[in-house]
């Protein structure tokens, strides 16, 4: 039986469907409720914090002064002129953004904690704030952190030899400025945690809606100066993360501190307003891109200037370099760029902290590159498919300008498949007919690659103080013949329990339901980095495969003893070990190994009869690729965009569970469409946030998201031992560019194009105002 490649319904689902999932807020019931008092000012000096006149019995107020002596959240980066700044758990002197927690109120119910929190008197002396890139970079701008005088926290700079010559000798220089507005990842479950003190052992169990439980444990223990062994972090069912739940946020050490100090259970469950204003934002970037082209459309050089508004502090552990430096390193994407120059800066402002969000910088850089290609095609009078074909990397492996190796992929084939499916001539005819009626249709596409499944080498190249990467899997067969795999990764909706079970089942000749994947608990799983950056199937999958192979070898050796055969001839299949015609059930073998080791002789293997093995996998990374294609209709009277068709040609290598893979693409594209058309976190000039509810911040519904057609290509690269390339982020990466190009195509008769996202009706109307279409 081959389970890999099957659309197996997920093992996770029945409990979730019956409402029997167990999310952090479910576990927190009965704990004392923590309500945070958050700053109403973007910048200011804390004068005093006065508790409510009447605190109910057992209620508490905790401020930064109570936490004196504890560390600050201060991730580091050894290069790129990085300025390390510390974020206090609760500030004592100054506030840096609207929504920053300044005090905590604890009461016996959430309602009472909320009542009391409203009565806390904050005396804050407001100061001038900077909320956007221009304000923060203006001469004489207020300085957020004295360590960073110009508000620049990180800066990468590079100019390859040959760049000047490429631009000097270019037949055409095509230039473009783009703006990606701020987004919130908006998992449907917000963050939250519940810390419980165990009086018998002195340990604390923190249940938290998070993506990196092991990292969280280390980080909290370090901040609080407590033994790490006294802390257990559990990620139970987690209601989505998309990167927002990777970081070490101040609320979690606060909960653990409370549990230890007051020897009880303390829970904080984030509400939607807190999530929107104070969890983490992303995508707030501005790029200027210049391409040097030959007359025939060959790209000779690329120059980019990247500005990223990283918010008030630096997210732990990846640092505020995560967005600007990814754009810096990966801007050329799937294109041949012989000479590259880049400057990328992370600018601090009085806004919520930036953290990774699905795709990180790639939605913005793909938007930049793909808009550049369409602009160049128009400027040079070359067909946009032909222009891309000329410049896409077409032989592998290929070393990029930044020294990364592009492994086997299908950049051109993916584009061709999408173009075929689109039937361009028919579309052009429909477009022309519609224009006559005053209707504006457009078709756009986006070709991109996505670095996925990268381990330690890739993170080490970024020079982060904390270098994530490997994943470890502990696998064991119990005496009754079930398989348990304990993984350091921490899935939260990706269906890893099912997909990893499929991989393991194939290696051991069992069914997936005989395999239990145990995750999200630092007491029960080996140290690992968690689930993010499209790495689950590649890295945790690779480690599972290696571990299962080791276990299979052990089973073969033992079965050979029992069946009196050669281990090399043992086949594991249908839950049995076969030696030719002879066979025995694996469950029987497992019981004998554990409980009748006397039967195997003293010389067998290393006499480890517990049938357990460990494996680690730490690959350099691979690149998935895709072409997204969008067909839109723009209502030029209202600026409203309707998506008529959306197609994804995706190459993520071998698909372990195609049904889950499709789901990842659907969800990613929906978030990309949100990025392209709807969602925007907006700050007023004084740093007040204007989008604090779901009435102002607009995630799309089933009415706005079209059905998405998917075509899979499966290029098998040896950069991933399972053959799988990651695909968690790709959907979100391609959509903004494909839709931006489609709207630009639709509006071509007006002589305008899209450079700012989201392309809201107001922005589109602003572009069109006073313009008439040229026939």
């Amino acid at each position: 039986m081959n389970w890999t490649g099957k659309r197996l319904p997920r093992l996770e689902d029945p409990a979730l469907l019956r409402g029997e999932g167990s999310y952090t807020a479910d576990i927190a019931i009965g704990a004392r409720a923590v309500r945070l008092v958050r700053s109403p000012f973007a910048s200011g000096r804390i004068i005093s914090i006065t508790p409510p006149a009447e605190m109910s019995a057992g209620a508490l107020l905790v401020t930064g002064r109570d936490l004196a002596g504890l560390g600050t959240i201060r991730p580091t980066l050894a290069r790129f002129n990085y300025v390390a700044i510390g974020q206090p758990i609760l500030p004592v002197e100054r506030v840096h953004f609207v929504g920053q927690a300044v005090a905590a109120v604890i009461a016996d119910t959430p309602e009472r904690a909320e009542d009391l929190a409203e009565q806390v008197m904050l005396d804050i002396d407001p100061e001038d704030a900077v909320a956007d890139l221009d304000a923060a970079m203006a001469p004489g701008a207020p300085v957020l952190h004295p360590e960073a005088p110009g508000n620049v926290l990180v800066e990468g700079q590079l100019r390859q030899s040959g760049c000047d010559a490429a631009f000097a000798g270019a037949a055409h220089v095509v230039e473009l400025g783009i703006r990606s507005r701020r987004q919130n990842a908006t998992p449907m479950e917000g963050r939250g945690g519940c810390a419980t003190f165990d009086r018998a052992t002195g340990r604390v169990r923190l249940t938290a809606s998070c993506q990196m439980p092991h990292m969280l444990r280390t980080g909290i223990a370090e901040l609080l100066g407590m033994p790490e062994a006294d802390l257990q972090v559990v990620a139970p069912d987690v209601g989505g993360g998309f990167g927002q739940k990777m970081a070490l946020f101040p609320e979690y050490p606060l909960l653990v501190w409370l549990a230890r100090k007051y020897r009880g259970s303390f829970a904080w469950i984030e509400d939607r307003n807190e999530n929107l204003i104070a969890s983490a934002h992303s995508r707030d970037q501005r790029h200027v891109i210049r391409g040097a082209f030959d007359a025939d459309g060959t790209l000779r050089g690329l120059e980019v200037d990247i500005l990223s508004n990283v918010g008030a502090f630096s997210c732990y552990p990846v640092t505020c370099g995560v967005e600007p430096l990814m754009a810096f390193a990966e801007y050329p994407g799937p294109y041949k760029v012989p000479a590259y120059a880049a400057r990328a800066r992370g600018i601090t402002t009085n806004t919520c902290v930036m953290a990774p969000y699905r795709g990180v910088s790639r939605p913005a850089i793909t938007f930049g590159m793909e808009r550049l290609m369409d602009r160049a095609a128009a400027q040079l009078g070359i067909d946009r498919v032909a222009l891309r074909r000329r410049n896409l990397v077409d032989s592998f492996p290929c070393r990029t300008a930044m020294g990364m190796t592009l492994d086997d992929a299908s950049y051109i084939e993916a584009m061709d498949r999408a173009i075929d499916a689109a039937d361009l001539p028919a579309f052009r005819a429909r477009q022309a007919a519609a224009r006559v009626e005053g209707r504006y249709l457009g078709l756009g596409f986006a070709v991109f690659n996505e670095r996925t499944g990268y381990g330690t080498p890739a993170f080490a190249a970024r020079s982060m103080g904390i270098v994530p990467g490997y994943e470890v899997v502990d696998i064991a067969m119990t005496p009754l013949g079930e398989i348990e795999a304990r993984i350091g990764a921490s899935p939260h909706g990706q269906g890893l329990r099912t997909a990893l079970a499929q991989l393991i089942a194939d290696r051991l000749g069992v069914t997936p339901d005989a395999v239990r994947i145990i995750h999200g608990d630092t007491d029960r799983t080996p140290y690992g980095w968690g689930t993010f950056a499209s790495r689950g199937m590649v890295i945790a999958g690779g480690a599972c495969q290696i571990a299962a192979d080791k276990l299979a070898d052990r089973l073969r050796v033992l079965a050979a003893r029992m069946l009196q055969a050669d281990p090399a001839g043992i086949v594991l299949r249908d839950g049995q070990a076969f030696a030719g015609e002879a066979s025995m059930p694996l469950a029987e073998l497992a019981r004998l190994a554990h409980q009748r080791s006397d039967l195997f002789g003293s010389d067998v293997a290393d006499r480890r009869f517990n049938l357990a093995d460990t494996a680690s996998y730490d690959p350099g990374g691979t690149f998935s690729n895709a072409c997204h294609l969008a067909e839109v209709e723009v209502d030029v009277e209202t600026g409203l965009v309707r998506i008529a068709r959306y197609l994804v040609v995706e190459d993520a290598g071998r698909l372990i569970n195609p049904m889950i893979a499709d789901g990842q693409v659907h969800g990613g594209v929906a978030q990309g469409i949100a990025n392209a058309l709807f969602e925007e976190i907006i700050y007023a000039e004084d740093g007040n946030i204007l989008t604090g509810s779901l009435a102002d911040y607009l995630p799309p519904t089933a009415a706005e998201i079209p059905d998405i057609e998917i075509i899979h290509l499966e290029t098998i690269s040896d950069a991933s031992i399972t053959g799988a390339k990651g695909l968690g982020e790709g959907g979100a990466i391609g959509a903004p560019a494909a839709i931006g190009n489609a709207i630009s195509d639709a509006l071509a008769p007006f002589g305008v194009d899209i450079t700012e996202l989201p392309a809201t009706p107001a922005r589109i109307r602003a572009l069109l105002r006073g313009r008439e279409p040229t026939p």
Partner: protein, 164 residues
């Protein structure tokens, strides 16, 4: 704050509880009836994660007080399956990968349960219209729509829309 004694009927079972009058139905179900399948995604009436059925109408339980539900028939996600046997709608969500993280799922299940129990047949436009009441961040909605569509077909409630 004073509390009030009420009796709630949830999934056919009665719960005699004491609640603050200001406590929402969602919190009451979760904290006092032990029914944590009803989730809270926004607490301001937008996301629909908290949808339950009250007297045959889908209701956002974050916008209703627990005491307002006294004497009414409340249904939550915990009441859909018959023991280990999933309802046809739940089964369809499983078959068609209608959930990822599962956080929005109880709300969608209750909304769609109501939709499928109505007398009126359902077409594509109605399906999208009704399901656009709730938010999901993981699935892009496609497989949720598919799961409900296929369940409707199975129950003989589906009509193909007239071609445009």
């Amino acid at each position: 704050m004073t509390t009030q004694r009420i009796t709630l009927t949830v999934n056919g079972m009665t719960h005699a509880i004491e609640v603050e009058p200001r406590r929402t139905l969602a919190d009451t179900l979760r904290d006092q009836c032990g029914l944590t399948g009803t989730h809270l995604g926004c607490e301001h009436g937008v996301c629909g994660a908290c949808t339950v059925i009250v007297d045959n109408q889908p209701v956002r339980s974050c916008l209703m007080f627990g005491i307002q539900a006294e004497g009414r028939s409340i249904r939550t996600v915990e009441g859909l399956a018959d023991g280990a046997t999933l309802s046809p709608l739940q089964q369809s969500f499983w078959d068609h990968h209608g959930l990822q993280c599962g956080f929005c799922t109880p709300g969608f299940l209750m909304l769609a349960t109501w939709l499928l129990e109505r007398e009126t047949p359902i077409d594509e436009a109605e399906l999208r219209h009704v399901l656009s009441s709730n938010l999901c961040r993981c699935t892009g909605y496609q497989n949720i729509l598919k799961a409900v569509r296929e369940a409707a077909k199975g129950l003989g409630k589906w009509v193909e829309s007239a071609p445009a």
